[in-house]
Amino acid sequence: MSGGAELGFTEHLFKVLVIGDHKVGKTSFVKRYVKNQFYEELKTTIGVDFSMKVIDWDSHTRVRLQLWDIAGQERLRGLNRVFFKRSSGALVVYDMTNGSTLDGALNWKHELDSQVMLKNGRPIPAVLLANKCDETKVCRRNASLLEKLCQEKGFIGWFQTSAKENINVDEAAKFLVKHILQNNEESVKEEEQNMQINLKQQSKSNSTCC
C-alpha cells in the first residue's frame, strides 16, 4: 500500500492492527502513541477504533499509519476477524501483570498468521508488546523466555512498554515501521526482478525466433 513518488518523495499508507486480549491496554497504547496522552480510565472498546499517525520518516519518506484498535473480547473478535485483511503489520499486546494474556497474545498471533500474509507467503511483521511494565519488571528469566517465544512464534521482536509512563511506545512502533518499510522495498525489488526475468525470457525467446 504505497503512494506514488514525486520528485523522489514517497508517501506510504500502512494498515497496522493493534490486537490482544481485553483490558491489556491496546487503546491506551494507541492514545499515547497518537496523541501523547494517557487516560487513567478509558471505556471498553466495542468494535474497532481508528486512528491515524503521520510520521515523517526521513527527508523523502512520509508514512501514514492507519491504526486499527480491535476489541479484545472473544465474541467480538470473531466479528472483527475480517478486518485482518490487507494489513501491513501488527502490534500484539499483552498485560505483564496478567500472565494468561500472554497465551492470549500467542493465540492472536496464530490467528493473524492464518488470516493474512505477505505476497511472498511470509507472515506480516508483528511486534510483541509486554505492556504495563510500569507495574512490574521483566526479570532476566522472563526476557529470555520472551526472546525464545519471539523466535518460535515469528514475532520480529518484543518490547516492554508502558502507555502510562510513555516507555518504549515510539520505539516499538518505529521498529515495526522499519520492518514494514523493508518488506515493502523487498517486494518492490522482487517485482522488479520478476519483471526483468520476464523481459530476459522474452528477449531470449525473441532471439531464438530470429
Binding site: K43, T44, G47, A71, L79
Partner: protein
C-alpha cells in the same frame, strides 16, 4: 459540571447553544409531563394504542420512564410472576469466568459518570456488577458480552433499581432485540446487513461510496447496534430512542441509523478513503442535529420514509440466509 444523570460534560461543551435548546425544550418537557400525568391517572394499565404510541414518540418524562418501560416491555409482568428470582440468581454459585470478564469492565463502563466512580456514595458499580452477573447466569447462551455493560448502566441510571434493570435487560435481550449478544452474534451480523440493504434502497449515494471503498457495514455501525446508541448519541437522545425501543421494538434502531446516514449523505458520499468514511461516520453522531432530541425524534419518523415491519422481517430472513450459507 455534570448533567442530571451524573455524566460529566465534555470540555468543549457548548453551554450557549445548550441553554438555547433547553429554554425551548423545557417548555416541551413540561407540556408532555402534564399530559402523561393525566394519561396515567386515567389508566390502570398501559395499553398499546395509537394515543400512547404518539405519546411515547414525543418522549416519556423522566419521572414516568421506569414505569412505562417496565409496562410496555413486559418486564413488570415478569417481575411480578417471578418474585425473588433475581436475588436467588445472585445467591447461587457463580461461574468464575463470567465473573472475571464482567469485573474487568467495571471501571471501563462509565468513567465519565460520577455515579459509577468507586468513591461515590452509593456507587453504581456494585449494582452494575450484580445485574450483569445475574443476567449472565439467567441467560447462559449469552453469558456476558461487552456492550451489555453500557446497556445495564443506562438501565440503572434510570430505574435506580437492580431488579427492575435485570428484567428490562431480559426484555431487551430475550424479546425485543434479535440475537445480538450470543457467541456468534448472528442477529447483529444480520441487522448490519439489513441496514446495508436499506441504505442501498433509500440512500444509494452512501451505499455506493461504501461499496467503492470496500467498507463493510460492521466497521461503522456495529457499535450503534451493540450499544443501542449509548455513548454514541447524546444521553437525552438515547433515552428518547429507548422509549420507542421498549414500546415499539427494534425497528426503531434502523430508523435512527437511516436518519443519521440520510441526513448526512453528502458528507459521507464525498469521503475519499476508508479512513475518511470512518471518520465521517463518527462525526455524524455529534452536533446540533442529534442534540436537539425532540426534533431528531420527529425526523426519524419522517426522513427515512416508510419502513414496514414486513420489509424488515423479509430483509432479516434474506440476510440471515446469505450469512449462514456463506
Amino acid at each position: 459540571m455534570v448533567d442530571q444523570y451524573g455524566f460529566e460534560r465534555a470540555e468543549d461543551f457548548n453551554y450557549e447553544s445548550y441553554e438555547d435548546f433547553m429554554s425551548k425544550h423545557l417548555a416541551v418537557v413540561t407540556r408532555r409531563s402534564k399530559k402523561w400525568s393525566k394519561l396515567l391517572q386515567d389508566t390502570v394499565k398501559i395499553e398499546k394504542n395509537i394515543k400512547v404510541k404518539r405519546y411515547v414518540r414525543k418522549g416519556v418524562p423522566c419521572e414516568h420512564r421506569t414505569q412505562i418501560w417496565m409496562a410496555a416491555s413486559g418486564a413488570q409482568d415478569q417481575l411480578d410472576r417471578n418474585p425473588g428470582y433475581y436475588h436467588s440468581l445472585l445467591k447461587a454459585e457463580h461461574d468464575p469466568k463470567i465473573e472475571e470478564v464482567i469485573r474487568a469492565d467495571m471501571h471501563r463502563t462509565f468513567p465519565d459518570n460520577i455515579q459509577f466512580r468507586a468513591s461515590s456514595q452509593p456507587c453504581l458499580q456494585k449494582a452494575l456488577f450484580n445485574v450483569l452477573l445475574a443476567y449472565g447466569h439467567h441467560n447462559k447462551d449469552v453469558g456476558y458480552c461487552q456492550g451489555m455493560n453500557f446497556i445495564a448502566g443506562y438501565l440503572l441510571i434510570i430505574t435506580k433499581d437492580e431488579e427492575k434493570s435485570f428484567w428490562l435487560m431480559d426484555a431487551l435481550l430475550g424479546k425485543i432485540l434479535p440475537d445480538y449478544y450470543t457467541p456468534t452474534m448472528l442477529g447483529l451480523q444480520v441487522d448490519q446487513e439489513v441496514l446495508g440493504e436499506l441504505v442501498r434502497m433509500k440512500v444509494p449515494a452512501v451505499w455506493q461510496v461504501m461499496n467503492s471503498h470496500n467498507v463493510m457495514w460492521t466497521l461503522v455501525v456495529s457499535r450503534w447496534f451493540i450499544c443501542l446508541y449509548v455513548d454514541i448519541l447524546p444521553v437525552e437522545t438515547v433515552l428518547r430512542i429507548w422509549d420507542c425501543l421498549f414500546y415499539e421494538g427494534s425497528k426503531i434502531l434502523f430508523r435512527v441509523a437511516l436518519t443519521l446516514i440520510g441526513h448526512n449523505q453528502n458528507l459521507i458520499s464525498q469521503a475519499q478513503s476508508l479512513s475518511e468514511i470512518c471518520e465521517r461516520f463518527k462525526q455524524i453522531s455529534h452536533g446540533e442535529f442529534v442534540e436537539d432530541c425532540h426534533t431528531f425524534m420527529q425526523k426519524i419518523f419522517m426522513e427515512p420514509g416508510g419502513l414496514s415491519t414486513a420489509t424488515i422481517t423479509k430483509l432479516r430472513k434474506m440476510c440471515r440466509n446469505r450469512i449462514t450459507s456463506a
